[in-house]
Symmetry: C2
Subunit: 144 residues, 2 copies
DNA sequence: TGAAAATAGATGCAGTTGCATTTAAATGCA
DNA sequence: TGCATTTAAATGCAACTGCATCTATTTTCA
C-alpha cells in the first residue's frame, strides 16, 4: 500500500483548494457581468488565435481537454449565442470548420478584462516573479 | 487594463491543466473500481477524523468548500448508500449529527488505496521532496 | 413573552454533464 | 468496386449542479 508523503498530500490538497477558489471566483465574476463561463473563453481564444487557418472541432477538443460530446454541445450553444459560426467543410462532409464572429471577439475581450484581472490579483500579485516562474515550472513537470 | 505577466499566465494555465488531469484520472479510476466520486471521500474522511465529537452538516460544508444545497444532496445520497448516518440532533431540532458507518469506513479505505496511489504516482513521484515542499508552500500562499 | 430575524437543511426547476448510442461520411482493403 | 472499419459529430437518457425558494426550528431583543 503506497502512502503519499505528508508534503505530497499537502501539495495535492493545496492544488485542489487553490483551483477551486480561483475557478469559483472567476465564474462568479463572469456571471455577475453577464458573461459566459470560462470554458467558452478558451474556445474563443483558440479560434481567435487560429483565425486564418480555420479550426475543426476535433482539433479543438484535445487542446481544451474536453470530451467529444462536451465539445459538441458547447459549440452548439456558442453558435446559438452568435459567438462562433460553423461552416460546412469542403474536404470532409462529416465535419465543419469553426470561426469566431465579431460578437465572439467582443465577448472574448470583455471576458479577458475580468479574467486577466483576476489572474493577476489572485496569482500574479501574490507571488514574486521568481516564485511565479518556479510555480509554473513545477506544475509543468506534473502535467506530463 | 491589467495584463497578467507571461509567467502568471503560464502558472495559471498549468494549474488548471494539472488539476484537470489529476481530477479526471482519479475519478476514472474510482469509477472503474465501482467506487463513489472523490467528494464523497472528503466527507468520509472528515467524519472519520471527528468520529468522537459528531459533526454537523454546516460544519462540514466550509471545510469542503461546497454550497449548502450541494452538501445537503451529497449527504442524502451517501446516507442512501449506507455510508453515513444522520441522527437527530438533541440540541437543535433543525439539524442532524452526522456519523460514518462501518460500510463508510470500508469504502473510504478502498478509495484511499486508489486515491493515495495516484497522489503518489502523479505528484509525489514526479518531484523531489524539496520541490514538493516548495510547491505546497507556493500554493498555500495563493489559498488565502 | 412574543414577533421579527437568523439559521439548518431540503427541494423544484432549468440547465449541464457523463455515458452509450446513433447518424453520416471517409477510409481501408479483399 | 464494394463491404467492413474508422472517424466526425450529434443526441436520448439519467444523474448532477446552480439558483431560488421553502419549511422548520432557534435566536434576538423590544
Amino acid at each position: 500500500m503506497v502512502i503519499p508523503s505528508d508534503q505530497t498530500q499537502s501539495a495535492w490538497c493545496a492544488l485542489y483548494r487553490v483551483h477551486k477558489i480561483f475557478h469559483e471566483q472567476v465564474e462568479a465574476e463572469l456571471k455577475a457581468a453577464n458573461l459566459p463561463p470560462l470554458t467558452w473563453y478558451d474556445v474563443l481564444w483558440e479560434l481567435e488565435k487560429t483565425e486564418h487557418c480555420g479550426l475543426r472541432a476535433y482539433e479543438l477538443q484535445p487542446k481544451l481537454l474536453l470530451p467529444q460530446y462536451g465539445m459538441s454541445r458547447i459549440l452548439t450553444r456558442m453558435e446559438a449565442a452568435g459567438l462562433i459560426q460553423k461552416q460546412e467543410c469542403p474536404e470532409d462532409g462529416r465535419g465543419q470548420v469553426l470561426g469566431i464572429t465579431e460578437a465572439g471577439r467582443t465577448t472574448r475581450a470583455k471576458m479577458w478584462a475580468i479574467y486577466g484581472k483576476l489572474m493577476h490579483d489572485m496569482l500574479g500579485a501574490k507571488l514574486s516573479e521568481e516564485e511565479t516562474t518556479t510555480l509554473a515550472a513545477l506544475l509543468n513537470k506534473l502535467a506530463k
